[in-house]
Amino acid sequence: MAKGKYFDGLTSSEHEATINPSLQRLGIIISDPYGRPKFLDWDLEDIEIEYNEFAKRVKLENKTEPRKRIELELSEFLSIQDQLPKNLRLGIRSNGLRKIWLFGAISLFIIGFLIFSYFVMLPYFAEKVAINFPQSYERKLGLSVFESMESDLDIDSTKSHDLQLFFNGLGYDESKNVQVFYSKTNDINAFAIPGGFIVVNEGLINSMNNYKELQGVLAHEFIHIKHRHSLRILFRSLSSYLAISLVFGDINGILAILIQNSNELRSLSYSRTMETEADINGAELMVEKGFDPHGMIELMETLKSHTPNIENEVFKYLATHPDLDLRINNLEKVYSNQAKTLNADSLISKSIFLNLKNDR
């Protein structure tokens, strides 16, 4: 015996009902509006069962028109469940606790999978795309970026020619057709544009103490180009953006913007590892070509002496270039015992460098 509520499908009146299952039938006792008991008898064949997980009720519906129903609390139903045929029992679904565990396990697995795809698979595919991106397109892309910047850069074509000679003399250029430019800007900076454009500022060259530092800068920027760092950042953030808008796209616009900005921080830290890569691989390249890798370290010292001291941790994290001390340490660990080899070309390089620096 179990207690529930009976609805006759004709009106909205609610009747207290007591139900009593037997082999073929379901006996129901309801009280009519005057409080007198009324006996109903349902054929089990006509009954459909449904568990409503949000209302936590079991609904037994009699399919014959008008559709009548009995609603029971889950615990009431479970007390008579064994007396009903198999098709009118609640299966594993009724086991609330087990169901929650299952839900939990599945969602954890899927969330884990999503995190894995976001942090491992997505960068992997973005990397693949960046590596396989046709070189001619990369060149076009870089060219349009360079052209849009050119007027601000104030390029000195004579000095650019000299700088190009200096760069060619290093023998870094393999299949990449790298163009080097001398910009009359005072910022102590140099940068690489995808497709093979390197720009070195006057400010940087003038603050250098010797030509080895210029070799270092060019090695560093060349690695950026060779490893397609800009493209990798581009595809990485494009794919993250796609994934994020897929997950949060339809919830809240403001939310998306917030998450996007926090993602920006990730991109920055991604390029920090690239900077380290450019330092180390650049120094390796210098050794390979027979130059003194200390040029790279001296370059860092020069940069350091021209950078205001930033002790604040927040700024350290936000800075694209990792802390210079850290970079110097990384390089010194490898190259402190390296012999200062000199290349035959170094005299020419030296004279070009002095020419670039002094000819103001």
Partner: protein
């Protein structure tokens, strides 16, 4: 205890929400109709009237067909542009074609609203008594186009009257067993709400928005009436929300979403529903145990999701 209220805080929807959201994402949104069906079941089952919950009988499968049709339309709309570009149509020809299509889309809106209403109300039940929407597409379409045209040529000034006409038609054709509804709101009253909004929103540095929302909520609730022709009685719904309660609702919802990175959505949904349902008061003399079954089932899912996308809310 109140007669009409929303029973959950959001916690029972948390797990289904996460699981279904993930399935929707993994299926590239093809699963969305099933997610929506579960969400509607959750909402309906927690709306309690006189101790009994509402039921949503619709299924993801039914809504899937409507969803696919809509998806195909959207893909055609955007994909068509790329195809035309590839076929070297001139930009002017494409623009002309798209303005033409956009006008067609405006005409499709009443169709989406109509089929959405039909489906949603046909699938709504309380104590086994069906709701139903008995509006005629042709009548609704004519009404929509006529008043829509007035709105267009008056540069939107006519909008309050347009909105009231639409609401009057829709509400007037909703059945709950032998009961039906009526909307008595007048365009001029709605117009005054808008005028006040325009005059005060800048002076109050935007804070008037909460009072404006309150006015709109109260306008629609207080002008809705339940009609019982058999008893010859009418019952007026009332609402007394305050601007402050709107402020509290919106600000806390915003904070929940931000700090949970969107995972707090079930709680926000429950808070919204609680606000909506708990603030609608049903008169004491309205009794619910004599409502007679009159509506039959209706099956056509087209529009269910168009309604979602157009964000036209109805209870």
């Amino acid at each position: 205890m109140s007669r009409f209220y929303f029973a959950d805080t959001g916690s029972t929807y948390a797990l289904p929400f996460i699981l279904n959201r993930i399935l929707t994402i993994l299926s590239l949104s093809l699963y969305y109709p099933w997610e929506r069906a579960i969400q509607l079941k959750y909402i309906y089952n927690n709306i309690i009237l006189d101790g009994s919950h509402f039921d949503f009988l619709g299924t993801g499968k039914e809504m899937f067909y409507g969803y696919i049709k809509l998806l195909v339309l959207i893909i055609l709309f955007y994909g068509g542009f790329l195809v035309l570009m590839a076929l070297d149509f001139t930009l002017y020809a494409i623009m002309f074609l798209y303005i033409f299509m956009a006008i067609g889309f405006i005409f499709a809106i009443p169709f989406f609203i109509h089929s959405g209403l039909k489906y949603r109300w046909a699938k709504t039940q309380w104590r086994g008594i069906n709701f139903g929407y008995r509006g005629e597409l042709k009548e609704f379409f004519n009404l929509y186009v006529k008043h829509g045209f007035f709105t267009l040529i008056t540069l939107g000034i006519y909008y309050p009257w347009f909105r009231c006409q639409i609401q009057k038609y829709i509400t007037g054709h909703i059945k709950f067993g032998h009961l039906h509804f009526e909307f008595r709101g007048k365009g001029e009253d709605y117009f005054v709400i808008y005028i006040k909004f325009i005059l005060l929103i800048y002076i109050t540095l935007g804070l008037y928005i909460f009072r404006f929302w309150r006015n709109i909520f109260n306008f629609f609730t207080n002008n809705t009436i339940i009609v019982d022709n058999e008893k010859g009685e009418k019952y007026k719904l009332t609402s007394n929300v305050t601007a402050w309660s709107f402020f509290e609702l919106k600000v806390i919802n915003f904070l929940i979403l931000i700090f949970t990175l969107g995972l707090g959505f079930p709680w926000v949904l429950a808070r919204n529903m609680k606000f909506l349902i708990d603030n609608i008061e049903i008169p004491d003399n309205f009794t619910t145990d004599h409502i007679r079954q009159t509506e039959t089932d209706y099956n056509n899912a087209v529009g269910e999701d168009a309604i979602d996308m157009l964000d036209i809310g109805f209870i």
